[in-house]
């Protein structure tokens, strides 16, 4: 099942729509989002993914992370708070 998400990469200028699968890992969604933003922001090797104020486990799936359609997720550099 597809879960559309609003994705924001730190350093980017707009929010992008990413179509994730509910059984896809957060790490995979983050990679998808970084690829989508690559024309404006160079992909980072190490990132954290945030949603609803919490850091998501990169190995967890989209559904296990509690994400639902049109949630916002943020991909930020691993070093930043």
């Amino acid at each position: 099942m597809l879960v559309p998400l609003y994705g924001f990469v730190a350093g980017d200028t707009l929010g992008i729509l990413v179509l994730a699968r509910d059984d896809e890992t957060i790490a995979s969604v983050a990679a998808q989002l970084q690829r989508a933003a690559t024309v404006r922001v160079r992909p980072r090797a190490r990132v954290r993914v945030l949603a609803r104020g919490a850091v998501l486990d990169p190995a967890a799936t989209v559904s296990a992370s509690g994400l639902t359609a049109l949630d916002r997720i943020d991909v930020v550099a691993a070093e930043e708070p």
């Binding site: 559309p4 609003y6 924001f8 730190a10 350093g11 980017d12 200028t13 707009l14 929010g15 992008i16 729509l17 990413v18 179509l19 989508a36 933003a37 024309v39 404006r40 922001v41 160079r42 359609a69 049109l70 949630d71 916002r72």
Partner: protein, 490 residues
């Protein structure tokens, strides 16, 4: 003995009589005339200080038309436009698409006021205002029609409002509400008071200074001539607002707050792009922010105080956005340029130095995006448009319908909100506030994302812009230089 104008014109303006055989509410139903519905006496003091008789109007407008068409004869031919920088032509195409047909919607809004406004002088002024807006529709349509044969992107002067391009959706969202669905009171606040005494001056007079410096006499003349009409009919605004403040200050404040923000976003895109990115660097007299300071900030706060209103609660957010918003949208639009009808340019080292000097608070966070775009062009070489172009759909604000560019690159202010079983996203807090104040007005609208998710629009970007936005390959936006900039070559 000839009467001086001052001796007779007041009588000719104030023509209402007390109705004996029908009720006032029959002639002016609240639904058509607007809220709050006040007794006629409350509007009797309505006074437009900048007045014109019909005879003067006809004579003066004829002179204005003759002057503009004379300039068009001299310097408004296709060959005159062809010598301009391609970036400047993009600024013209952006203006041409977004403004002329909106003027026709303003004609309709003014005709409603000409029938349903509560004072005869107001109705008379609105009638002439409707004629002004008809002029503002036809003049650019005529002036730019000649260019279509030479450059198909100019066809969007007419086509834009009939299309489902994402910018057209955003433009219709604000123009339909402000001009077509608004009663005369809201029209006076939204259009005459907020739009016409601040923002249109920015685009029509501020931008005319750039046109002058670029050497585009046709556009310069046309813009200023149009705005001389506006200076007159905008005076409907303050007098309506004063009466409204006296009877329902809260409503007056809410209307001003809503419309100032909505206009800000629209003009940040249209004028911000033109002044800071599409006017060739050598001809930029001032930055967009400096023009905003001159045309909007300096006088808006003062005129609000003058009618007894306060600055909107979001004012600090607005002030901060002067350093960010149009830059965020431009960088986004550049990397999605095929979704619009005009070409965009990459700011080179000189442009970026100018932008850094004009926007010291924000440019550090924005420059890396252009560094990345330049890097991508170097990797691909010129001519490879797709390598610096986004391929995925993007989000749009549930209120303003624009891309989600609020805040800064480090902290985007987009927020997801659930209400009544539906999920919305807003680019900023003011957009959210406006939506939640009148959800019944906005809740049903299905934006591009919702259409894609419902299978009504393609998710593939190329298909989206061909079939849904209505752009053909020779019309959709490209890099002005095809990525072949002197400063990119090593």
């Amino acid at each position: 003995m000839k009467l001086a104008r001052d001796d007779w014109f007041d009588l000719a303006r104030k023509l209402d009589w007390t109705y004996g055989y029908v009720g006032e509410r029959d002639v002016f139903p609240e639904e058509a005339s607007g809220a709050p519905w006040l007794p006629h006496d409350a509007w009797a003091g309505w006074n437009e200080p900048f007045r014109t008789t019909y005879a003067e109007y006809v004579a003066t407008q004829a002179q204005k038309e003759a002057a503009v068409h004379a300039v068009r004869e001299a310097v408004g031919r296709p060959e005159d436009f062809q010598r301009h920088d391609r970036r400047w032509l993009s600024a013209l195409k952006l203006h041409a698409a977004t403004l002329p047909l909106a003027e026709f919607a303003a004609t309709i809004g003014n005709l409603r006021a000409a029938r349903f406004a509560r004072d005869s002088a107001w109705r008379g002024t609105a009638l002439l205002g409707a004629l002004d807006e008809l002029r503002h529709t036809q003049l650019p349509l005529v002036a730019l029609h000649d260019l279509v044969k030479w450059d198909r992107q100019f066809d969007w002067t007419h086509r834009f409002y009939h299309s489902n391009d994402w910018v057209a959706i955003a433009a219709r969202h604000v123009m339909d509400e402000m001009l077509l669905a608004a009663d005369p009171i809201e029209l006076a606040v939204a259009t005459n008071f907020v739009f016409e005494t601040g923002f249109t001056n920015l685009q029509f007079v501020g931008l005319s200074a750039m046109a002058h410096d670029v050497g585009d006499r046709m556009f310069e003349t046309m813009l200023k001539s149009i705005q001389t009409d506006e200076a007159r009919h905008a005076q409907i605004g303050p007098t309506v607002v004063r009466t409204l403040v006296a009877h329902d200050r809260a409503r007056a404040q809410r209307l001003v707050d809503k419309w100032f923000w909505r206009h800000w976003l629209l003009f940040a895109v249209v004028t911000g792009f033109a002044m800071d990115y599409l006017t060739p660097l050598a001809h930029r007299r001032s930055s967009f922010k400096e023009f905003m300071q001159e045309w909007v900030l300096d006088q808006f706060a003062r005129s609000l105080a003058d009618v007894g209103l306060e600055l909107p609660a979001y004012w600090p957010t607005f002030l901060e956005s002067l350093d960010w918003y149009h830059h965020m949208v431009y960088a986004s639009a550049y990397t999605y340029r095929a979704t619009v009808w005009f070409d965009l340019a990459v700011p080179g080292p000189d442009e970026r130095a100018w932008l850094r000097a004009k926007y010291p608070a924000s440019w550090d966070a924005l420059d890396p995006v252009w560094e990345r775009v330049a890097e991508r062009w170097r990797e691909s070489g010129p001519g490879v448009e797709w390598y610096t172009h986004g391929t995925t759909p993007v989000g749009f604000c549930s209120l303003c319908q624009l891309v989600l560019c609020g805040g800064t690159p480090a902290r985007n202010t987009a927020q997801v909100v659930d209400r009544d079983g539906r999920r919305y996203i807003f680019c900023s807090e003011p957009c959210r506030t406006i939506f939640e104040a009148e959800p019944e007005r906005y809740a049903e609208h299905r934006d591009v994302v919702k259409q894609i998710l419902a299978g009504e629009a393609p998710a593939n970007l190329l298909e989206l812009l061909r079939t849904h936005f209505g752009l053909t390959q020779d019309e959709w936006g490209k890099d002005v230089a095809g990525g072949d900039y002197p400063w990119l070559r090593r």
